[in-house]
């Protein structure tokens, strides 16, 4: 098997990138005019039209599933891709004969980046549309807001994004990473000789539950690894914060003398101003690398990557992962976006949450077939221990704790917005919803216990 990553081995020069892209950019530039009309209408219709034609082909009435991702508002930028990939998976499955011979019918709703609306739309999917499973949510806030709805009505949610852990709901399957599958190994890597022996850590995040909890765990971990408290700095900025002058000044001071790294859980549109300011204030990736947990290919797609090159990220999957099934997946996704006139068409990229959303659908399909039913409790039991060859490689659902065993990959940002994998974990990492550093006494188990339990 070829292990060289194409982007890793070939040093793509500045000029090459520009010329390489020029062909498609021109097309894109010229073709944009037709997109406005298409964009508005298509999104809404996709959910239904594509599937109706096939839905009554064989095996009984279609199985209804729900897709709960923001298609408007601030989170749309990230979440629209997840809707796209779930619909793509549904299309693939339907073409391949559906689930137990029944077609899948996807019901797409738009909670509009409004957390309250998430709860309402979740209710609607479960109570009105009576869907058998929901794929959805991005932010922890939205998940927290729909959680009571799913628990109350015994629904099933596949949640595809890395998150802060400390949750163990039997109505949710977490296909993204827990903290010990992303953040903790990344910081351990930075502390290792290979990673650069970093000794001081500036934990910078957007002010919400994921960064707060992650940093809480990281701080406990760093303290346990004998990093003095004085060498850990923690700071939070509001959503959409734009002016990072003061913070970069602080980091500069913090990093003077070397040995410092920035652990960034900055979310969304704040990243560009942050990285720009970081570079413009004379800080370099060599002085103080930024290790990010919320910057993936999809976010980099639109960014000016020149300010980001050399900085790091930790995920469980990159588009550049070199497996045959991934090549196919990436090509399929681009083709799907182009075929359906989605914005940016074949320039779209895949990333970790997109992959997690994608294999979530297949895991559910396998579980339904194993259970021979779409009934939530039966499906849930069948999910435990399911394995699937995801684009990034084999993954496994945990036997008891609702989470996913995944590999951890640390990547370096390259000029073309892709990642060069510079470190990977040995095998799959077992998910720990309750961190060993902050909640060593707690565990999550729905087979032998009722969810969260106290370890003896």
């Amino acid at each position: 098997m070829e292990t060289k990553l194409p982007q890793g081995s070939k040093q793509v020069s500045d000029v090459e990138v520009l010329t390489e892209e020029s062909g498609s950019s021109r097309r894109e530039f010229l073709g944009q005019s037709g997109r406005v009309a298409a964009g508005v209408g298509v999104a809404a219709l996709l959910g239904n039209l594509g599937n109706y034609a096939l839905s009554y082909a064989a095996g009984g009435p279609p199985i209804k599933i729900g897709i709960l991702h923001s298609l408007s508002g601030t989170m749309a930028i990230s979440e629209v891709s997840l809707r796209d990939v779930v619909l793509m998976a549904v299309e693939e499955i339907n073409k391949a004969g559906g689930v137990m011979g029944r077609q899948i019918e996807a019901k797409v709703v738009d909670p509009a980046s409004n957390w309250d609306l998430f709860a309402e739309k979740a209710k609607q999917l479960l109570l009105e549309d009576k869907v058998s499973v929901v794929f959805g949510c991005w932010t922890s806030v939205s998940r927290k807001s729909v959680l009571p709805v799913f628990e109350k009505n015994n629904g099933l949610l596949f949640y595809p994004v890395q998150y802060e852990g400390e949750e163990c709901s039997k109505n949710v399957f977490y296909t993204g990473a827990a903290v010990n599958q992303q953040a903790a190994p990344a910081v351990e890597y930075l502390m290792s000789p290979e990673g650069g022996n970093y000794k001081k850590f500036y934990l910078l995040g957007t002010d919400y539950v994921y960064p707060r909890t992650t940093n809480k765990i990281l701080r406990a971990m760093l303290l346990a690894k004998k990093v003095p408290a004085a060498n850990i700095e923690e700071e939070y900025t509001p959503f959409h914060h734009q002016d990072y002058q003061t913070i970069c000044g602080k980091i500069k001071k913090f990093a003077a003398g070397g040995g410092a790294a920035v652990i960034s859980t900055i979310n969304g549109d704040s990243n560009v101003p942050f990285y720009k300011e970081f570079g413009n204030q004379g800080l370099r990736a060599e002085d103080a690398p930024i290790m990010a947990f919320s910057v993936a290919e999809d976010e980099l797609r639109g960014m000016d990557t020149s300010a980001l090159v050399g900085h790091l990220a930790a995920w469980n999957y990159y588009q550049s992962v070199d497996t045959p099934q991934n090549k196919k997946f990436v090509a399929n996704f681009k083709a799907y976006c182009k075929r359906n006139n989605l914005p940016d068409g074949e320039n779209r990229v895949t990333d970790d949450p997109i992959e997690a959303a994608y294999f979530g659908v297949y895991v559910w399909k396998q579980a339904v077939e194993k259970a021979g039913s779409i009934e939530v409790d039966a499906v849930r039991k069948a999910v435990y221990g399911q394995k699937f060859l995801a684009p990034g490689g084999q993954i496994m659902m945990d036997e008891a704790n609702q989470h996913t065993h995944k590999p951890v990959l640390i990547g370096e940002i390259m000029k073309n917005g892709q990642f060069k994998v510079i470190w990977r974990s040995k095998g799959l990492v077992k998910p720990e919803p309750w961190s060993e550093y902050t909640n060593p006494e707690k565990g999550c188990d729905w087979i032998n216990h009722q969810g969260t339990y106290q370890k003896k």
Binding site: M1, L18, V36, T74, G258
Partner: protein, 525 residues
Amino acid sequence: MSVAGIPMRIILLSLVVFLPFGSDLRSALAAGEEGQTTSSSPQSANPIDQALLDIKSEDAAVRSAAAALLIEKGDASLLPKLDEIRADADRATRQAIKPVIDLLKNHANLTSEQADTRRSAAADLVGTGRPEAIAWLEASAAKEQVWWVKYTMEESAQLMRLRSEDQTVRLLAIKKLGDLRSQNGLSALKEFVETGAQSEATDEQRALATAAQTSVGEIDSWFWWAGAIETFFRGISLSSILLMMSLGLAIVFGLMGVINMAHGELMMVGAYATFITQQAFIAWFSPEHFDWYFPVALPVAFLSAALFGLVLEATVIRFLYGRLLETLLATWGVSLILMQAARVYFGDLTAVIAPQALRGGAQVMVGVYLPYNRIFIIVLSIVCVLGIYFLLFRSNLGVRVRAVTQNRNMSACLGIPTRKVDAYTFAFASGLAGIAGWALTMVGNVDPGLGQNYIVDAFMVVVTGGVGKLAGTIWASLGIGGLNKLIEPISGAVYGKVFILVGVILFLQWRPQGLFAAKGRNADA
């Protein structure tokens, strides 16, 4: 998807589903790697070539010996080979190879053409900890022309001297670092102070501690001032952004009696115009001319925002003259529409690549580094203010605009085409927003929410400054921006903003009409 593709896909899918689950992904993926690294190669006569092979050895001692040899004998010509090895290497090899690459690369870079590269190399050499680098650094420093690079080389050399065994060398280095006001030396110096303060410290350590204490004092007081200057600069920088935004707002508010909530979205139009210009350059021009897109984007941004402004004026605002609150609400609606249109059309985060000239910054003195993009915006805002001043107070058009402002009917009687003046004024203010958007692409991203980020602050500036007074807008933006940056290090960004709001409300208690209230008979008509 073609019809032929379907069976293909089904086969693939079933393959995927029924693939044996036992196989460990990691081993599958890594198979190639291991195969390569274990293959040992024949002996070679050249010691360097031999070392290049040895460094891949599984024996740690062999590896480190090879590394030592490479550092001693090697030069920059080895780098491509080393990089090649590194790309395929396993973890242990990488770790062994890293210091070699670091040292050789940085040594070579000390004589680079680029000042930045030389400086980076000088800074990075400290991390290698190899004493031979001191001589390189000092030799380069002697020849160096750029003061900041020279400074870094000297600083790095002294930082490495701190690790010397020789007491006098260390003492001298400590003193030198103090003289250099070296911020990078601060943590090391503080360590000396701490060691010296311990009860079991030797006399030598105490002497070092005393010297270090003096140096730390020097550095600290220097950086207090440097910090103050940087904070001041940041305040000015934020103020200039606010000013750029508020100028257009103040014009339409003061001269036309229109509150334009879509002003931020007109900025967004300017930013997207810049982005489109960039895309056009990528598509149609050769890469070496790429940086020209930015100056070209200025008129594009101005004109496109002005055009949007014209349309907005003609379709919405002209029905609402004299109805301030209604203009506020209607333009808010327009802003929602423009934002969503951008979201649907551009779909995503898009960003503009800064031209080379606006990247990085200038080291004006030790501890004070001013980013070029910020300096650029400050200068731009000054230019805009001067431009507006001349246009409004020194040009024919300006006289007409002010005439219409003061007495619409009379102006109409005197033959001034008031409709046109309205439209042009609004378009001009919109164009200003476009310029602000153009400039903002240098500090942030281009996204549909661009306008919303600063709009509330900009309105606060207009309200605080007083309606229709250019000077008020300038002073208010300086005040709000400066205060914000002054408070922020203490209170954090959020509470800083809250303090500012409370401040503005209290300020309006004292001066309800703003800083520069229009006085006169019709003041509160």
